[in-house]
Symmetry: C2
Subunit: 337 residues, 2 copies
């Protein structure tokens, strides 16, 4: 089963390798129909398959797009990945999936890995949580990649002057907080993520500032920082429900945490939303499956993946025009009171 190459096909068809090449890929130079036919016939007869690597080298450009996420098992990222995957397929690209697992250094390694791979574009869907030095290292790696002709697009927080798809976390968070006030809630608590997590921090800040503006500042002891996971949410709920004055509503910075908060409320022998109301953020599918269904801020995750890919494919590397906006979705977890 030796590998059959273009040379074999050309030889079998009795034409030059150049003609064979033109016949199989359809270059701008055209080929006489009968020859073209002969080549194609020979190719399929021999079971020829073009070598994408060789093509990439000869053409000077690959057809692969690097996607870097935090954790593909997290519905937030898997949904964005679905959008990227779809857009990539439509563009004839094949996506290289990589995970950072939240490690900033790993993120830099991945960028250079994809760089070596000569991926034509890198899409960063993971929210960064490193310090400034980590950011600088990542930026340097990405700029080096760009210098070699690579395209880049990232979501959320901006990094240097890299093309970024802005997401209006603050607007959505503020709107959500406002909606709760309108529903009659007064005593708030927040299940915040880790302070270093940029996105989580932005949401928490927006919530607090909106509430403060409405005369309902959230004291520090009512903001608990845990992991952005179910477990983290559960722990946060436990801590918040142990306070002297029980909060009327616990706002989690992600749906996943909110699900954990629901569990924590049950653990404490309380009911949601009767005893404590809960909100999430993102509107991943699970948000409407749990009981009570979660009030949250809907982010068009799949669309974000698509737009991110489109952004990465813009030759110059332009910036996204309009930021993605969240939409408050009120469900059973926050009844009027």
């Amino acid at each position: 089963m030796a590998r059959v190459t273009l040379a074999d096909v050309a030889h079998a068809a009795g034409v030059s390798q150049a003609t064979a090449s033109r016949a199989v890929n359809g270059s701008n130079r055209t080929v006489r129909p009968d020859l073209r036919e002969r080549v194609l016939a020979a190719a399929s007869a021999l079971g020829y398959t073009p070598d994408a690597n060789a093509q990439a080298m000869a053409r000077g450009r690959t057809t692969s797009l690097g996607l870097v996420v935090h954790d593909i098992a997290d519905p937030f990222f898997s949904t964005i990945a679905a959008g990227v995957s779809q857009a990539a397929e439509e563009a004839g690209l094949i996506v290289s999936l990589t995970e950072t697992q939240g490690d900033p250094r790993r993120e830099v390694e991945i960028v250079s890995l994809l760089d070596r791979q000569r991926a034509m574009a890198i899409v960063l869907a993971g929210t960064r949580l490193g310090d400034d030095a980590d950011d600088a290292a990542l930026l340097a790696a990405l700029e080096a990649y760009r210098g070699r002709g690579g395209q880049v697009a990232l979501v959320g927080q901006r990094l240097g002057d890299l093309p970024v798809l802005a997401v209006d976390h603050r607007g959505g968070a503020a709107e959500l907080a406002g909606a709760l006030v309108d529903l009659g809630y007064r005593r708030f608590a927040i299940a915040a993520g880790r302070p270093r997590h940029r996105t989580a921090a932005a949401r928490v800040a927006a919530i607090r500032s909106e509430l403060a503006a409405r005369g309902l500042p959230v004291p520090d002891d009512r903001v608990v920082h845990t992991d952005l996971t179910r477990t983290g949410g559960r722990a946060a709920a436990a801590a918040l429900l142990a306070l002297a004055e029980r909060p009327e509503v616990i706002m989690a910075v992600t749906d996943l945490m909110a699900v954990g908060v629901l569990g924590g409320i049950r653990d404490a022998g309380l009911r949601a939303p009767e005893d404590v109301a809960v909100t999430g953020f993102d509107d991943i599918e699970i948000a409407s499956d749990v009981t009570p269904a979660l009030t949250t801020v809907r982010l068009p995750l799949r669309e974000i993946g698509q737009r991110l890919t489109a952004l990465a494919l813009i030759p110059g590397g332009a910036d996204a025009l309009e930021p993605v906006r969240g939409e408050v979705v009120v469900r059973e977890s926050t009844p009027a009171r």
Copy 2:
């Protein structure tokens, strides 16, 4: 920003390209320390990055692994993908993510796409749902790929004599059905997937045969075939709850469908599990998040991904020794009665 190649590095270091090559990759032939140092210094000074494509061509083997799933946004697949991703990273491979969206023809296209890519292995995590002709086409494509030295591994149903990681759907399904009988359930209904879906069909068959063996055969009108989605589950519940004699428990063939069934039960103005009990299959994370938490058959999805990858990396392409077994997990959705 011209691309800096190994030749540039060699020239800058004052050595031959061969020596430079040996210095950067660490071939078996060794290089004198001082020269080695000079080369490395020159490389980093010039900002050299090896071209993985060129390396692949020169070495005759790539470092990429193709992963094909149904839909990466589906938690079932994203969890398996996480396992594959992890195992691939440990093996120094980079995974190419592709989605079939349930289209058998697309699946064949993807295989040949990955083939052109010269992926060193292809992992098929999507359950097939085509007819025999589709299977034959897929098998042919995979065999052709194998003939060219590619490794293959698939999960679930076997295809030809390709290496397969067997999953004991039947055993788990039968055990689950038995457990329900032991809990006191007698009137069963099944939210089955599409009949053509191999995995779903296997589960349904096992459930029915186990129940029949216990003297509780499930009539055809109590087996509803809908899509393997939330929506499908919802529709199935609606149909099953409209029957003259309301079933005591609805067994869905996947957790996702079971979640839909829960919704359908609410739609009908009934409660789970008081009025109707529900079971799922797979034990994706959401299964324990919904209310009531789902009784289901736990499949170690992440581990499946890892084992699948390991299987694909076995040189000869051996078969997996032991099949993956599911474990029945009884939760609130099926109280004893």
